[in-house]
Amino acid sequence: MSTVHLWPRRVVESQLARPLILIVLIFVLWDLVIRVFKIPPYLIPAPWDVARMLVAEWPRLWRESLFTGYATLGGFGLSILFGIPIAMLIAYSRLVESYVYPLLVFSQSVPKIAIAPLFVVWFGFGIFPKVISAFLLGFFPVVVATVMGFKSMETEMIDLARSMRASRLQMFLKFSLPQALPSIFSGLKVSATLAVVGAVVGEFVGSNSGIGYVLQIANGNFDLPLMFAALFVLSMMGVILFAIVDVVEKMMIPWHQSRRADVMTVTA
């Protein structure tokens, strides 16, 4: 007996199709809930209204998302630029770790939204305070993951390197760094999505551009379809940045466990 599939199996099982199918299902459910429970559009907009708004307002949303995108990339870039070296200092020096690490954790517990207005006071209304805000959110996961990556070297591997009389530079380049990369990348992925949030937080408190600003306006006007459309654009930015990090990861650490799905193991 043969079964008839609605879609060819290949399509259903492809990496890209699965989340798309889920999104379609969510849309259908969303639409159903609104119809069945008669939820008024000023509480939750219908998916079609959001989609229509997305198309109608696309030029504006695109323009504004560029601002947010720059701030996000700036913050993310700074997170890498500062996060990884600081993490290395923490991982290699007990002294630095004991002084700096608690302070970092302390600073992370301060809600960014509370101090974001200060950035406006300090740095004005330009893109800089948004970059700082994105940086402050994206920075911490990079540091934590990188510290963990560099500290996770087994003692046997250190002994191996020492038995080969490896210099400090060799130890770092041939052992520690490759060993730490998977961990660093998982930190970068978290950081990428948080940087988007950080940029929007920056735009919330003092801006006349960016998706955060659109959100504020839509919120003020009770324009729920626009708000949802802006949220969608924002999420897509996070997804795209995440995907880029993922691709770079694939290229840099093809050997890692998480990439081994399609390779067979041999026994002898």
Partner: protein, 266 residues
């Protein structure tokens, strides 16, 4: 042909000169190794057996220059050990192959880090790969190999710079019994072909007897020498010898040390 294992005419290559090790802990100094005094001869295969925590791995690290001695010293070819020596290769309990390098690249790591000539290194690496039966797997990653193959690759890495001394720290401890016996045969073959001085740390009394010219038995912590035994079996040895009278008697003698110490249940 290998020389008679009891041949004391061979010069000593590694000399333990009252070498001792203790660790500083919160409770004060804990003695790990009592002063040891013995030689390992050139070309000899010497195994150390002893109960867990008797300091046998510590001794290997002292010889390898990975740990400083608290008292006394070790001399290799007349030179005092003050750090990792050039003439040593170490096989660790875990294979410690780098996941981002292929088998051949892992073996060549030794050559790269030591900045030895690449051409000769890779030639030797390929010879070793063939000798241990890994031919065809040079470009596989460690995780694509079985446990036995991984450990064979790490043996190649320890030999590729042609060291005079091979130190092995329970290299087959993580393998199943069948693979372990196979690896013992392999190691005997590698040793007789490569002509190295080998110091093997192991838990397994049969493994120690099967492979060694001499077996050194260590007492419980703090470690000291409980006995040194010559293994009079001819080479090359076969697994069948393990069932022999001579083998059994020697194993029983060595095992008696552990009974006496109470570290084996009767």
């Amino acid at each position: 042909m290998h020389m008679d294992p009891g041949d004391a005419t061979r010069p000593a290559l590694i000399r333990m000169l009252g070498v001792a090790k203790s660790y500083r802990t919160a409770e004060g100094e804990v003695e790990s190794l009592q002063p040891l005094e013995f030689d390992i001869r050139e070309g000899e295969f010497l195994s150390i057996v002893g109960p867990s925590g008797c300091g046998k791995s510590t001794l290997l690290k002292l010889v390898g220059g990975l740990l400083p001695a608290t008292r006394g010293s070790i001399e290799i070819a007349g030179k005092r050990v003050e750090g990792p020596a050039g003439s040593i290769g170490i096989v660790f309990q875990n294979h410690v192959l780098l996941a981002w390098r292929t088998v051949l690249e892992n073996i060549m790591l030794q050559i790269e880090v030591r900045k030895l000539p690449h051409g000769r290194g890779i030639e030797h690496a390929r010879e070793l790969v063939e000798m241990v039966g890994l031919k065809g797997f040079e470009n596989k990653y460690p995780w694509q190999l079985s446990g036995g193959m991984q450990q064979r690759a790490s043996i190649c890495r320890a030999l590729v710079h042609d060291p005079a001394i091979l130190l092995m720290d329970e290299p087959f401890g993580a393998l199943d019994a069948m693979t372990r016996e196979k690896m013992n045969l392999e190691l005997q073959r590698i040793w007789s072909a490569a002509k190295k001085t080998v110091l093997l740390i192991t838990h397994s009394i049969p493994e120690a007897i099967f492979l060694s010219d001499r077996v050194l038995v260590m007492s419980e912590r703090p470690g000291s020498i409980a006995g040194i035994y010559d293994v009079p079996l001819p080479r090359p040895r076969t697994l069948a010898m393990m069932g022999g009278v001579e083998f059994g008697a020697l194993a029983q003698t060595i095992r008696a040390h552990f009974y006496a110490q109470g570290s084996l249940d009767a």
